[in-house]
Symmetry: C3
Subunit: 139 residues, 3 copies
């Protein structure tokens, strides 16, 4: 049994979902473990992780629209507004999704379903550099 | 230290919570590990996992009603509607709950609280076959 | 590779976020593992875990206000009301946040981002004693 840790930087283009499945799967494959547990940690409170359908891109459009309505911006709506009107909604959207995901690895690959992709969900309007930590434990 | 992986199929009866604590606890017990980490992965984006009260069944009724109101169906509400009006709400309900749960095992059993049950949350109207992956790591 | 398990009791003061980063970081440090995976499990369905900004306290005010609006109390709103009007909303707020968090440990410490704190989110109005389980696996 052994462990591996890797830091990944993802450049986002502002609000929305960015598919990060491929670079994560590549790193997992390089570690050459047959059975393991992969943990992904997002080091931010205004971006988060989610598992979503990787087929129809309109799913991501609907997700953006739904979260904009569920956690609206708005002048005067939040006390904490000195980092921008999109900052407090970003924290709330992070809370409602995931900061961490742990995916079992079997036969050398993550056990994702056919239609599952792993996404970084950027909640700020402007592009950001987001740091993820990958931790793999197995053999 | 060793690992075990197991695939479980759960038949759902349409929208709602299905208690999956017993079959998971049985499989964990069969692995005969004293201390471990159990990870449950749901291989779908229109069903998810949650931990909820296992006592009063009206809790599950209220949960169904709350999620139907929070993530409403509706003709014209979503761009992605060619898989049915309940498909896009199913993806959103999955995002707001869990695709993965990791439960510590101590003294040979999951450390669930007295009133905690593990549930598969089906988000589609029709019954589905849902595949879960169980991964156990410990000794 | 070895494991450690620890039970922690957190006294809450009613609804709101309580920073539990320091006691968890202290316990992790005492285990003297360089690389590991820490899992935190909340043994309740009316309190939960979340990762949030640890800087400006007004963030926590806005979080409380947002969740009170998203999951309102209300006479007659829920079928399950015999444990108090704040009980069913507490279950729903738990479902929308986390019962479990797994944080990678590298160089002997959790890989939290600069602004990340780990919080216990109490959903009941009255103070409660909440039990968490910490599980650490690594070397």
């Amino acid at each position: 049994m052994r462990q591996a840790v890797h830091y990944v930087v993802v450049e986002t283009r502002g609000k929305g979902l960015r598919d990060i499945t491929a670079p994560i799967a590549d790193w997992v494959a390089m570690q050459a473990m047959q059975t393991a547990l992969l943990t992904i940690w997002c080091r931010h409170t205004s971006a988060s992780l989610t598992v979503q359908e990787n087929a129809d891109p309109t799913v991501r459009e609907d997700i953006n629209r739904f979260f904009d309505a569920l956690v609206p911006e708005g002048n005067g709506r939040y006390v904490h507004d000195d980092e921008g009107l999109d900052d407090m909604p970003a924290h709330l959207r992070s809370m409602l999704t995931q900061t961490q995901l742990s995916v079992p690895v079997a036969d050398g690959a993550m056990v994702l379903g056919t239609w599952q992709g792993i996404y970084l969900f950027e909640h700020r309007k402007r592009p950001h550099r987001r740091e993820l930590v990958l931790h793999l434990l197995g053999d």
